[in-house]
């Protein structure tokens, strides 16, 4: 195995075009797979020395987060924490303090776990990936990246450069909740992300609802969002959103939860996350610590 540290995107693209090359960002998934012998890459391409991959840029319409930015760095960023508390909370749920010191948004996405915590929150936030590859750069909505457990739509030699979040609109709020049987250090039984925008009368004008750990890949549930739009998130609307979310679930039975349990919890979490997002939209409250 070779270890390479490209200093530019172009150099990384060239290295990743070689056979069996893998991206190393935070390494919190990759090194475990390497140790267990589940992957045997010929080359590890450490992207952390590419300056733009470790930077966060605030633009008038866009927040650009380098794919290798760690959870700890994300959580310390005041603007992102204020505008996208749901995304930051979702990412901070991953692993321990130690894991947060290394794990990256890009890695959590490209590891392609159906239960990845940050992904439903990113999908709800309408985040977009900027991807670099042999054919140049392209933008893809986050919900189109993961295609199944451990599988992505990235082509050979491609890697994620940055994750782009829109600047949060006034009267908007997001939230992410997950269920685990303990309080920390576990993988989601179900995760739910909700992002809402209200009009001046408090009526929901736009919504996105996403679910994790209830299907082979994280889901954007348009029907659940539709149930919220045009309402003030009264109990009826929330129940309809929950029903739509449950309807979208295709979970597996495993040690973390049964099919029925996951389906039921998905509805509960969508309702609860929607209430938190609503409150944030109403108050435009920054994330409290």
């Amino acid at each position: 195995m070779r270890y390479e540290v490209p200093a530019s995107v172009a150099a990384a693209v060239d290295l990743l075009a070689t056979p069996d090359a893998r991206v190393l960002a935070g390494g919190t998934d990759l090194l475990v797979q390497l140790r267990a012998g589940r992957i045997k890459p010929a080359t590890l391409v450490d992207i952390k020395k590419i300056p733009e991959l470790k930077q966060i840029h605030l633009e008038p319409d866009l927040i650009r987060i380098g794919a290798a930015v760690s959870g700890a760095e994300l959580g310390e960023h005041a603007t992102i924490s204020k505008e996208w508390p749901g995304v930051v909370e979702a990412f901070e749920l991953i692993g321990s303090t130690q894991v947060q010191g290394r794990a990256s948004l890009g890695g959590n996405l490209c590891n392609a776990s159906p239960a990845a915590d940050s992904v439903p929150a990113l999908i709800a936030a309408a985040a977009v990936c900027l991807i670099a590859g042999p054919g140049g750069q392209r933008s893809v909505p986050v919900e189109e990246i993961i295609t199944g457990p451990g599988r992505t739509s990235l082509q050979a030699g491609e890697f994620v450069l940055e994750i782009q979040l829109p600047r949060q609109l006034p009267n908007s709020g997001d939230a992410y909740l997950r269920l685990i049987p303990r309080t920390e250090m576990d993988i989601a039984v179900v995760g739910a992300g909700v992002n809402l925008t209200l009009d001046d009368n408090g009526v929901c004008t736009a919504a996105r609802v996403a679910l994790g750990a209830v299907a082979p890949r994280p889901l954007l549930v348009a029907e659940a969002a539709a149930a919220l739009c045009g309402t003030r998130l009264d109990d009826t609307a929330l129940e309809q959103a929950a029903a739509a979310a449950r309807n979208a679930c295709q979970p597996i039975d495993d040690k973390r939860g049964t099919v029925d349990y996951r389906i039921n919890v998905a509805g509960v979490l969508v309702k609860r996350a929607a209430r938190i997002a609503l409150q944030r939209a109403q108050q435009r409250t920054p994330r409290g610590h």
Partner: protein, 157 residues
Amino acid sequence: MAKYHVSTTINGEPVEFLCEPQQTLLDVLRDDLQLTGSKEGCSSGDCGACSVMLDGRLVCSCLVLGVEAAERSVETIEGMAQGEQLHPLQRKFLEHAALQCGICTPGFLIAAKALLEKNPDPTETEVRYWLAGNLCRCTGYDKIVRAVLDAAAEIRA
């Protein structure tokens, strides 16, 4: 297998080593540099026994490659006491009997030190969440949490 030459800083000292690309920083610390205070409990980032500081960030050294330490700064348990002077956390762990078998202790101390450097006055809840990535099978954690809170109070005073 070709080895990589790595120059780094460990506990303030310049260090050079040769390592294979798949060796973790933990492997290098323990097997090549014989800094065995960092422990391998799981090699999957779950137990925290291998906790070290990497450029001021708390990480599991089992989830860092040795080659990644190049031109960076690593702090391990071996650098925590200053000469004969134990760090207040080390002293409080002794006074509160916050250890039994001791295998998890270096990781807890490194993680707790990282917490107090970031937050000198943590609540009990904050201590418990911060240390959630460090597993201990002997103590039941209470004495560890009390030792950390007591050390924080002493450092603040």
